[in-house]
């Protein structure tokens, strides 16, 4: 294999999760990265699982994981820019662990601090009866592979329901991008940027 001459180092801190589910509690989160063939992780864990967290007692009733993820990737090609895929699980009424949401977002392209709020969703049951039985049995429909949510192919056959949001805080550092002709914009010193979280969220 020829020598890698371009290292795109994206250092990412998932500092803080804020999962807002009005009725769910005791949730934990699994994450993994989906990236193209030209990408390779050089440091850090590309898959992991967070602790179980319960709702805060204050008025916000937020679930805070505050779970850091530290990953470095290198690449020779921006194609297949890494995405983080989150899947949140938690116990249902009967105590079975069921999936509470899937979501994915690209790691921000530009260096700096980014706050992303990902809307989460779960696949729906195919029928009312299925829905009931899955609720009853505690076996909700799940994706065969959570990485499905990072790709568009084949999604048209599924039906999903949105529930909740996860907030992620990214700290991205890139290296040698400009040298190789990829201008990812000026280093963002403004702090939190990116699309503002959807309206109607409790702050």
């Amino acid at each position: 294999m020829s020598k890698l001459c371009w290292t795109c180092l994206s250092r990412l801190f998932l500092k803080y999760y804020d999962y807002i589910f009005p009725e769910y509690d005791d949730l934990y989160c699994k994450y993994c990265f989906v990236y193209g063939q030209d990408w390779a992780p050089t440091a850090g864990l590309e898959e992991g699982i967070s602790q179980i967290t319960s709702k805060s007692q204050d008025a916000r009733r937020a679930l805070v994981w505050n779970f850091p993820i530290d990953v470095t990737f290198k690449s020779t090609n921006p194609y297949g820019w890494p995405q983080i895929v989150l899947s949140v699980y938690g116990p249902d009424v009967f105590g079975n662990d069921v999936v509470r949401g899937y979501g994915a977002v690209h790691v921000p392209l530009s260096p700096g601090r980014h706050k992303k709020t990902i809307p989460m969703f779960v696949p729906e049951s195919t029928s009312k009866l299925q829905k009931f039985t899955s609720w009853f049995m505690g076996r909700r429909p799940e994706y065969t592979d959570p990485k499905v949510v990072a790709q568009g192919e084949g999604r048209e056959v599924t039906r999903v329901r949105s529930q909740g949001f996860v907030t992620l805080l990214f700290n991205v550092v890139t290296k040698d991008m400009r040298k190789l002709g990829y201008d990812t914009g000026p280093p963002d010193t403004q702090g939190v940027s990116g699309p503002s979280p959807p309206q109607g969220l409790p702050r």
Partner: protein, 1620 residues
Amino acid sequence: MKSKEEKVKIISEEFIDDGEDAEEERQKKPLKIPRQKRKKQLPTASREEMVLENSPVDDQQEPVQKGPDTRLLGMTSRRGPRSLPPIPSASRTGFAEFSMRERMREKLQAARSKAESALLQEIPTPRPRRLRSPTEKESETEFGTELDREVQRTQQDHDSQGHSRVKFHDSVRKIKSKPPVPPGFPSAEEAYNFFTFNFDPEPEESEEKPKAKNRHGANREEKEGEEEEPPVQEGVSKTDEEEWLDGKDVEDLLLGLDHTAEDFVAVRPADYQSVHVRLQKEKELLFVPSRRTVPTYKKLPENVQPRYLEDEGLYIGARPEVPRTNQNIMENRLLTQEPGRRWFGDDGRILALPNPIKPVPSRPPMLTQEQDIKAELETLYKKAVKYIHRSQHLIGSGDAPGNFQLDIDISGLIFTHHPCFSREHVLAAKLAQLYDQYLARRQRNKAKFLTDKLHALRSAVQMGLNPAKTPKTLETTPKTINEYKSEIRQTRKLRDAEQEKDRTLLKTIIKVWKEMKSLREFQRFTNTPLKLVLRKEKVDQKADEEAYEAEIQAEINELLEEHTEEYEQRMEVYRVTLQQWKAWKKAQRAKKKKKKQEAEEHPADEEREEPGPGEEPEKPAPPEPVDRAVIEQQVRERAAQSRRRPGEPTLVPELSLAGSVTPNDQCPRVEVMRREDIKRRSLFLKVTFNNKEVSRTESRPLGADFRVHFGQIFNLQIFNWPESLTLQVYETVGHSGTTLLAEVFLPIPETTVVSGRAPIEEVEFSSNQHVTLDHEGVGSGVPFSFEADGGNQLILMTSGKVSNSVAWAIGENGIPLIPPLSQQNIGFRSALKRADAISSIGTSGLTDMKKLAKWAAESKLDPNDPSNGPLMQLISVATSGESYIPDFFRLEQLQQEFNFVSDEELNRSKRFRLLLLRSQEVPEFRHYKQIPLYDREIMEKVFQDYEKRLRDRNVIETKDHIDTHRATVAKYLQQVRESVINRFLIAKHHFLLSDLVVEEEVPNISILGLSLFKLAEQKRPLRPRRKGRKKVTAQNLSDGDIKLLVNIIRAYDIPVRKPTASKFHQTSRSSRTFTEKHAASPTTHSPAHSADYPLGQVLVRPFVEVSFQRTICHTTTAEGPNPSWNEELELPFRAPNGDYSTGSLQSVKDDVFINIFDEVLYDVLEDDRERGSGIHTRIERHWLGCVKIPFSTIYFQARIDGTFKIDIPPVLLGYSKERSMMMDRGFDSVRSLSEGSYITLFITLEPQLVPGESVREKFDSQEDEKLLQATEKFRAECALKFPNRQCLTTVVDVSGKTVFVTRYLKPLNPPQELLDAYPNNPQATAELVARYVSLIPFLPDTVSFAGVCDLWSTSDQFLDLLAGDEEEHAVLLCNYFLSMGKKAWLVTGNAIPEGPTAYVLTREQSHYLIWNPCSGHFYGQFDTFCPLKSVSCLIGPDNIWFNIQQYDSPLRINFDVTKPKLWKSFFSRSLPYPGLSSVQPEELIYQRTDKVAAAELQDRIEKILKEKIMDWRPRHLTRWNRYCTSMLRHFLPLLERNQEDVEDDHRAELLKQLGDYRFSGFPLHMPYSEVKPLIEAVYSTGVHNIDAPNVEFALAVYVHPYPRNVLSVWIYVASLIRNR
């Protein structure tokens, strides 16, 4: 309920009135209603029924209904109610009903009061006709709700129209009751027309007509006419009911007539009408159009000459052919019935569209030569590309597709002529026009500009003439001066013309104004506020004169100069010609001296023959002074004419609207009428886009100044590129219908024109309508005159201007909403399509312009035909070559813009190439990771493999294959495989929900019950139950994750060693058995047995070695011929290229080799003295046999569990199978039936992989649809009963079509030489045939067509390919058996290790035999070791039987297919066998295989194998025993000939020859496909592993050719160790 009753009563009352009326009418009216009128009336009446539909009266109650009456009824009931606002109700549910009833009651009361007041005297005693059925009441309520809507709509009309109903009623009755129509009233026909014409396609026209006729007397009628409109619209909206009612109505009508007839008969005696009278009456009644030709003048308006457009050069399409007589009849009929004459065109013929039928069929020409067809129809494979974003790119980002907007601003309309123009208006319009012209001219002021230019030029010339001022351009000066001068001349001429025009215009304006003034005086009133003021601008007389004079002088000078120049030129010419002439004359003189004098006298004659100007130079200088005076004269004259005289004041006309218009009361009556007429007129515009009306403006009244202001902007949301944009000007006069005045075609704006920037433009229109008015208005299209004597007639047409602006709208983000340019071409393309060129020159001709032009010339295309327009233009452009026609068609126009590098660069760059190949999923690069960033880092060798493969695709390489035929087949297979895999890859991108989402199945009751039961269960039961393993999808796996688990349990009947001196053993079998028994017990065995001590030694010490992907594991050594290992071996699995996707796993071709070896210990101790202190043994392993299981089987089966027959070579030197021994040992008799050794295995993959599913594609089929449905049904029924039994009805053939399976079975002849081998032994022949079939290499479909599907090839294809899986083998074998006269079926079921497979079942005299087509073995039905474990289907050549017995093991089922309880047959009495034709060929043709080629192959294989064995022993010397080899070579053909019973002779022979060698070896037998499997097989035996120092090897190969290139390969490998 009360209200309802009341209502019924009223209805019947009303109804009776009308009935009464109708009856009266009927009696009064002559019975003979013109026939054609009746016909038309019926639909009309029924239309009115729709109105009636709203009314509570329905047809059943009123059998006799006439159009007007029913209308009356409808209107009565509808218009009756006065004010019915919906009453708000608290209860929502009751509201509708309640309010409806309420309204109904009110309505009916109102109706009654009206009816009573108006018609009281005529009402006879009410008599109820019929009781109403409840359903009718239902319909009433329905009607009521409908009424609600209607009432709202018509509410505003009520006050004005409520009373008119009664009037109308009256009037109609009056009209109807007086059949002889009094003058002044509309006749019956007119009245009829009046009502019916509403429904004509041209409502405006027809409305106007009766009105025009009735204008004087029947004002009332007009009002009614207005009333008519709303019901009509309702009627149109309910056409369905109309039709339904139609028939009913006719019946009712007839019924009614019958009644009246009866009445008459009752009172009158039978009367007789003479034929004459009847004929007379018929003549009145019937109209027979004559067949005679109608003279043209009748068809045209009076005094109009027929006009033939074709003669004028306009295009007229070919008329459809109609016989002359029919045309005449039609013309006569039209003339009599429709005097409107709108049917005829200008040429006096019936208007007709061009004949739509093309003279030639537009099918592409068929080619006769076969190869041409192939060349033409050759298809090219183009990989489909997804175009997801294309449409977005075309339209522009962010917009919804096709959301374009065209803004049309219609600001107003001005008439330049209108029928209501008075004479004064005409003049005013003219004046205004002239004034506009004047203003325009003045604004441009061309005369002034030209004068200035002239001055400038003159001064320039002056400057040029003065050399002192322009020293630098000395040389060029004369030339420029000349240029200036000519320009001066030019400019002067232009200026003069302009000045003259200005003057004339001014004069005309003044003249018109004078005319207007005189007209105003004459008619003593003023119509227009126009006022022209001529302002005089004083000028300085002296300066003016000077300037004038100077101008004239300058001009004279110039002219003079000009003339002089001209003169000089002429002089020059003259001189030259004179010279010539003189020369000529000299010659003449030399010839004829006499002529000289003559010639001098008439030089002109001579010179006239020369170029003209020779004449003038006759008189040289003198004209100059004369000219000056003449020129001056001319110049002055011209100046006087065209220029303002010096000192004369400049006249500036100013048109103002300051004048006062005479008020109405001072005007004469005609003028007042005219003004009132104008007031009644209003106008609106319809906007049509691509010939569809899209919107219309409000109707605005026509102003007294004939201006209409609209000021409306229409935003057209469009999808297509506009082809036409038209404004239609409609005029409404009074309350009658509207007339289309004219159409104004608006130009489609340029793409740069966007709203806000578009200027207001005035587009002129004119109409050709002819209007004559009875007041001051001059009308249109009719001559009128300003003079009293009627001379100097003018004909003016209605015309005007629409001021508008059309522009593209701008979207929110500032992007103009303009359709992409590509759409603009559609018009052109579609036109091209229409042309018939394709049929005559073929599609390719279209791109060849010359050909196209030639075709156009030959076929004499009418250049005037508008449909040929684009084509002609194209041809003209193409032939003239003026414009560049691209010789390509760009599919994605915008693609260019998205290319970030040029194509060459893309191809040159290795990195891009690599990326491209990877994204195309080229196998070599599919999983290439981290493509380097720079080209320089990519090694050339990356592409080498790929390029080599590309190169090799067409080159048949014989290196690996040796046999060329196989090489070709391999290539072919490879290609088929690739194409199928490509198809599969595409199909792989179609996902099902189950692919993405894991969802629990809905539990049925039993499972639910169980799970409920489980809730009560203990959490940790004492007896744990086995849980199914979790299946893993192959996505997130990597190397080392998957392991192959092989559990080797035990083996039976392993061959045992034979002592070298075996002679005496034959006799002492029983004793040996005894010792063996002892040996089998672990206590007796000891490793210290010497090799040549036969009795004490264990018979065999077998162990199992499993090799998979070159990883080798082996078990411990067990002892005895029936060893039990019970060991689990774990082998890692590596997917090719690290690709663990399903598709890749399916195509893994590796096999699992399970080899059984005998471990032999040899004492190598040299010295017996050391025996006590050390052990020196050498371990040798002798291959006994193997089991080969393809990985794909394991993958698809998930686990393999069972006992397999060990493939043991027919001759195993040094070993023998002791059959009698087993007998002695008392095994059950069943086992003894079969021969051979067996091994029990359990193989699985850990973790369990989810096997890929077959492609969910419905293949198309040529089978009968009924049959396919039947198969579906059959399958469903079978699956319902036995879901585990696979029911095979249709299969997919090689071309991907679904074929009914029985079509594959047909008797086919086996090779003759096989039949001839054992002419007297049918069983042997059958075995030989089976062997032949088994010799065809096995290649599973699942490997070649990775999980796609099972493709069935026909037997000839199979033999051609020489590769196939179980089905092909089974089909071929079955066909052979059928042709041999056996009863044979194809059996489908599950076998070990193949899984679902196909076997062949034959019926012998008393028993059934099951044949494994791939191995050639056969088994009895009750053979325990039969690999076929379950039977689901039997397939014969004409039927399919599905096993519906309780068990499916062949041991336990009955194969008698005639029993319907046991076998469900596909074709039965209800669905008889339709006689399906076979897909198999008629006969198989076998060519003898070339023996020489076989021999050659044999040598090459031997050579290769020897090399390989040497390669495998890198550390040792490999010696070949030639003698042994040649001996073995002799044995092999014997083995081929008879596989049994050869062993003993063979061994004896070998012993005799090689007595002093310890010998171990065996022949391997394989079907031949490639060399690689052979090598693998040899390797797996491990012969090469012997590393005794004095070992020698022998290897012999024998290839036995069978017909059709089927080759049987024997490889004899042996190792020899010389005994000391």
